[in-house]
């Protein structure tokens, strides 16, 4: 092959590769490969997972405070209106021996955990806050979770927002049903009256405006997971 032929062939194959790459993100075959990779990655992530792995927010780092981002999916900020919906309570049911409704006071009577941890957003930022609440693993002991429960769905009154988790991450010692933030009552911007907070999952997995915790035999997708974000979303 002479030089000119060779260069044009090289240039052509590079261009072809590039064009293929540009069309790639829309093609169905590549979507299948990506789905397979997500499944394999979840396997890797679940193998890596350890209850004993803890998040430690840097002691020199500042609390996010007012800069702590908040979002909701309803048109307006979801506020629990007692006059319309009655007193708020957290329903814990599904594969449990004693399905229970916990009022906020009931939750406060359970052992309180206070932790200064990171929040890892899928977008790439992190924010530190002090969270107060009940360990979900403590709550699980109260209701008696059955052994066949492999997943947990966290549901909300923010439209149909929910996210389901693997039970291992849900039982992590830093996974809280949080009702306090930065030594105040949890505010409406951050999921009042109670929300899930855990550094072991990306932010979108941490359902706010919590109403229901359901223990399930299989996964139940989620608001963002159903729109194409990874279901596992672990850190």
């Amino acid at each position: 092959m002479d030089r000119r032929k060779f260069l044009s062939a090289g240039g052509f194959s590079l261009t072809a590769a590039f064009l293929a790459a540009c069309g790639l993100d829309r093609s169905e075959r590549s979507q299948k490969l990506l789905d397979l990779a997500e499944k394999k990655n979840e396997g890797v992530e679940r193998t890596l997972y350890r209850h004993a792995s803890m998040d430690h927010a840097k002691s020199s780092a500042k609390l996010a405070g007012m800069a702590y981002p908040s979002y909701f999916v309803s048109k307006t900020v979801p506020v629990w209106d007692e006059r319309v919906r009655g007193p708020w309570a957290l329903e814990v049911d599904g594969l449990v021996q004693r399905p229970t409704r916990f009022s906020l006071d009931d939750l406060r009577r359970l052992p309180m955990r206070r932790q200064r941890v990171n929040h890892y957003c899928v977008e790439g930022w992190n924010a530190i806050a002090i969270w107060e609440g009940v360990r979900l693993s403590d709550l699980a002991r109260v209701v008696g979770v059955k052994p066949e429960a492999g997943y947990v769905d966290f549901q909300s009154f923010d439209d149909d927002y929910h996210e389901s988790w693997d039970i291992e991450s849900a039982m992590h010692p830093q996974t809280l049903i949080a009702y306090g933030m930065d030594d105040h009552m949890l505010g409406v911007a951050h999921g009042a009256p109670a929300r899930v907070h855990s550094p072991v999952k990306l932010g979108y997995k941490n359902t706010k405006y919590l109403t229901k915790v359901v223990f399930l035999p299989r996964r139940n997708g989620g608001y963002w997971s159903d729109q194409g974000y990874e279901w596992y979303g672990g850190t």
Binding site: L7, A21, E45, A61, L63, A64, G65
Partner: protein
Amino acid sequence: MTGTTATATGPAPRVRLRHHWIVRVTHWVNAVALTLMVGSGLRIFNAYPAFARKGESFCCWPWEHKPIPDALTFGGWLGGARHWHFALMWVLVVNGLIYLAFIYLHGEWRDLVPRRGDARDALEMIKFYLFVRPSHPMQGKHNAMQKTTYFLLPILAIVQVLTGLAIWKPVQLAWITALFGGFVWARYWHFMTMVALIVLSFVHIFMVFAVDPYSIQSIVTGGYREDLSPEARNARPFYHLLPRWRDRAAEEE
């Protein structure tokens, strides 16, 4: 394999096998996968084109909150880019391991490891490119500056894998995250290592076209014409576009 044997009548073989097929395949897989990793990585970056932890400012990035132009990104949206990034990372890692295992077992690492005298050899190359030295130094398969680059690339790749793990699993692999100074810094080093990889890649591509375009053949078919090597042609960057300088260099010899 083409052109590896001398004909019975010819004097010396003109086209010699320069790169084993494993090196050639891993090179091109790397070129495509790395491009897509950079594109999808930039798309992910654009979801939060800054480094500061919320409530803080960040010292060492002058373009906080300035996104990368969409045209340079790949994956379409944050979720899509993340899927691409987390799928292709395996391609790059496996490909890189095949390459490293091959050059270790096959001996090519000898052409790449730093040796005493490399600094002096690199200086000779710089002198040559600056017309201080008339003739191209004879430094073997790769000159000292190439060698350093090709040695640096796998090291940067390893740093890139580690910083990537640090921001993918900041809790489960917290010890790696801590190694890089925490999540914010690990994310910063993941970005800066990408910048270093891009810079070295562009220098590499520039030098291929400006000094040794015939080497493109050797990374595709494997064959390399020694009589067209930069040493044989006494080639400086763009030497073929600078006829007068070439003549003067030839005269000086």
